[in-house]
């Protein structure tokens, strides 16, 4: 135990504190999975009711931008993992660089997603605001896009929270808050970032690739 770790009054030592935080984030992530699980179930059931409409609708999504975004997000997970590693090894400069890179890639993802949303709006594919798709299965297509905006929207909300977390971590790292003995916040932030990434790994094929064979 070193003096650099501040132990909260309810804990015996820094080990207990770190283990509590680790378990806490895993339990929270389990909760998050169930949260997204509802959307995946809703998608599955609705697709079973409207298979042709979902095939038609998923062809309206922008697969190029979606694929680029997938690459961007996966890369951000790599830089996040490297940031955690650098923090644990005490290489502060590298940790800051990797955290900033993660935040930048996250911003690029959100920006590309915003561009896609704008295209969808122009094309009249936003249920409730501007929906003008007139082909066959229009009802089912509208449901698909409702779910598309719900699922990617909730995901983007998580991205924005993650950007706040990673930005804060970068600032704290710059202020020398982390040491090889005290890296819990970076590790926790990393786990959250990876979960948000993993959710996208499921969203991408379901929304973009499903009927493009």
């Amino acid at each position: 135990m070193t003096s650099s770790v501040i132990v909260a009054r309810q804990f015996d030592d820094s080990d207990q504190q770190r283990q509590a935080a680790d378990l806490g984030i895993w339990v929270f992530l389990a909760s998050e999975i169930l949260f997204f699980g509802v959307l995946f179930l809703a998608y599955t059931v609705t697709r079973l009711h409207h298979p042709e409409a979902f095939a038609t609708a998923s062809r309206q999504t922008d697969v190029a931008l979606g694929s680029i975004n997938t690459g961007v997000l996966l890369t951000s997970s790599l830089t996040m993992a490297l940031a955690v590693r650098a923090t644990k090894l005490g290489v502060r400069r590298a940790a800051i660089v990797f955290l900033c890179a993660t935040a930048m890639l996250g911003l690029v993802f959100v920006a590309i997603k915003g561009t896609e949303y704008r295209h969808d709006y122009v094309a009249g594919l936003v249920p409730g605001l501007r929906f003008s798709f007139a082909g066959p299965h229009a009802g089912g297509v509208e449901l698909f896009f409702g779910l598309y905006f719900l699922m990617t929207g909730v995901h983007v909300l998580h991205m924005l929270v993650g950007l706040g977390v990673v930005g804060t971590l970068a600032m704290r790292a710059a202020r020398k808050a982390f040491t090889p003995e005290y890296f819990t916040p970076v590790e926790l932030g990393g786990l959250y970032w990876h979960l948000v990434d993993i959710v996208w790994i499921f969203l991408y094929p379901l929304l973009y690739l499903v009927s493009r064979t």
Binding site: A8, R9, Q10, F11, D12, Q16, Q19, A20, L23, G24, V27, F28, A30, S31, E32, L34, F35, F36, G37, V38, L39, L41, A42, V45, T46, H49, H50, A53, P127, G128, L129, G139, G140, E142, L143, G146, L147, F149, L150
Partner: protein, 556 residues
């Protein structure tokens, strides 16, 4: 008793006294840690947050009770004369929403769980004290949304928010109400995360898993449900709000959606939520029955595993709410069998409580009266649950007063009785004061009589075919309805009595020592009320839980 035994006890007493007197002058108890309102609203002490929760859920309990009072008044006469059908719908919705989400679900976990969990496992606080305070603020915020919805004109969907009624037809404040429930759900999730981590990581030296009090096991099982079921409800209610707002008809058949999907998702949360209400009650009953039988719990391990089994099986029985919804008959059969399976661990618990009483030195103090009442009423509620789990019989009983009576036996006869038992058992620990035992016993008996008079007639009404959620009914149901309403009046008196004598005890009650019931468990080792840091020194656990018989035998 042998003289040496008495000597030992005196030494032990002196040690406990030394502990409590040493702790008082050095550091004040948690109630005296600050007297301003802000010192309460900003406290991260689990004991103070428990008191904040206790006050808030009591307010909601009487708000939900007021709605129930109006419902029972309306049903005194067959004609719908006191309130309109529409108002009646809003009343039972208000009653259900408030009682389920703002009283029953947080009741025992957020008050007694919060207060006792660190004390019972020998910790200074929960693992995440600030998260704990945040959960109370979320609870209050959710409460404000819901109260806002009710003040603005109410909601008429029933507490279940069934689609497509809640999305297409209802012209009431559905979005505000579901927002309130959505927000309060996050309060549950945070509590669940906090409890799970605390139980895993914060136990005192020697406090192994199988030395944990059964109340802690119950909190563990409850927290699993909080963490894994609540997010499903949250997202489902979010979908309702989206559907009403943007017309994304995931649940709307007119737009190609599937209303049954809503029922599946809703009950995937709401059936486990029933176990959120009853598992903590079981934990409370285990603590009280052992203490007032002066015996260790019968078959401790089977009690711990039964709690986990109920929590786990409870996740896969939701379809029994949908036997007449048109789901496949095979799904119905599977859900029926799984529901019967939940009865096994539940029955294990009932038999073990009974076996604990056997040859015990039973004392009928007020907490014990509530605990015994709990066991009896829970048994009736559980057994009638098996009636409803039977596919064919459910077709007859579905949506009748039989269902109402069944779940009130579980939630009111079970959960509320146990809640009151917990209030009376741990009141001396929480406040440091003793209440009037005579009045407390009287109130327990009034509650028991009033409860049965209110809800037993509803079994008969349901069996005879009276449907739920109607404000008027045929005259032949009048006698049983009048009986039920009369019982509700008795029950209301039983619920109001504790407010009086418990408030009285705060000022005039005798000081309780650290352990007025001579109970086992770490929470009784520390002063009443406990010091801010819970224990002057963290205890080391060397004996199994509920070592009532053993310790007394050692002294003989």
């Amino acid at each position: 008793m042998h003289p040496r035994g008495r000597f030992d006890e005196r030494v032990l007493d002196r040690r406990v006294h030394a502990m409590s007197t040493a702790s008082v002058p050095l550091r004040s108890n948690y109630l005296e840690a600050g007297f301003s309102l802000w010192s309460w609203l900003s406290s991260v002490d689990h004991k103070r947050i428990a008191v904040l929760y206790a006050i808030s859920i009591t307010l909601f309990f009487f708000a939900g009770g007021a709605a129930a009072t109006l419902i029972r008044l309306e049903l005194v006469t067959p004609a719908g004369d006191l309130v309109s059908a529409e108002t009646y719908n809003k009343l039972f919705t208000m009653h259900g929403v408030i009682m389920v989400w703002f009283f029953l679900i947080p009741s025992i976990p957020s008050t007694f769980g919060n207060f006792l969990l660190p004390l019972m496992i020998g910790a200074r606080d929960l693992a995440f004290p600030r998260l704990n305070l945040a959960s109370w603020y979320l609870y209050v915020l959710g409460g404000l949304f819901t109260v806002g919805a009710l003040v603005a004109g109410g909601v008429d969907t029933g507490w279940t928010f069934y689609t497509p009624f809640s999305t297409m037809f209802s012209n009431t404040h559905v979005i505000a109400a579901v927002t309130g429930v959505f927000v309060v759900g996050f309060s549950s999730i945070l509590t669940g995360v906090n409890f799970i981590v605390t139980i895993h990581r914060m136990r005192a030296p020697g406090m192994t898993w199988f030395r944990l009090p059964l109340f802690v096991w119950a909190m563990y099982a409850t927290s699993i449900i909080f963490v894994l079921a609540t997010p499903v409800l949250a997202m489902t209610l979010f979908l309702i709000a989206i559907e009403r707002f943007f017309g994304v008809g995931v649940f709307d058949p007119a737009l190609g959606g599937d209303p049954l999907l809503f029922q599946h998702l809703f009950w995937f949360y709401s059936h486990p939520a029933v176990y959120v209400m009853i598992l903590p009650a079981m934990g409370v009953a285990s603590e009280i029955i052992t203490c007032f039988s002066r015996k260790s719990i019968f078959a401790y391990r089977s009690m711990a595993f039964a709690v986990l089994a109920i929590a786990i099986i409870g996740f896969v029985v939701w379809g029994h709410h949908m036997f007449v919804s048109g789901q496949s008959i095979y799904a119905g059969m599977v859900f029926s069998i799984l529901t019967f399976l939940v009865a096994i661990p539940s029955a294990i618990k009932v038999f073990n409580w009974t076996a604990t009483l056997y040859k015990g030195s039973i004392r009928f103090d007020a907490p014990m009266l509530y605990a015994l009442g709990f066991v009896g009423l829970f048994t009736v509620g559980g057994m009638t649950g098996l009636f409803l789990a039977s596919l064919a019989l459910d077709v007859h009983l579905h949506d009748t007063y039989f269902v109402i009576a069944h779940f009130h036996y579980i939630m009111v006869g079970g959960a509320v009785m146990a809640f009151l038992g917990a209030v009376h058992f741990w009141w001396p620990k929480i406040t440091g004061r003793l209440y009037s035992d005579w009045w407390a016993r009287a109130a327990a008996i009034v509650v028991f009589v009033g409860f049965n008079l209110t809800f037993f007639p509803q079994f008969l009404l349901g069996y005879l075919g009276m449907p739920r959620r109607y404000h008027a009914y045929p005259p032949e149901f009048a006698v049983l309805n009048v009986l039920s309403s009369a019982g509700a009046a008795v029950l209301a008196i039983g619920y109001l009595l504790p407010l009086v004598y418990l408030a009285w005890s705060l000022r005039y009650g005798a000081r309780a020592g650290p352990n007025p019931w001579d109970a086992k468990g770490l929470e009784w080792l520390t002063a009443s009320p406990p010091p801010v840091e819970n224990f002057t020194t963290i205890p080391v656990v060397t004996e199994p839980p509920y070592a009532y018989g053993e310790a007394e035998r050692v002294h003989d």
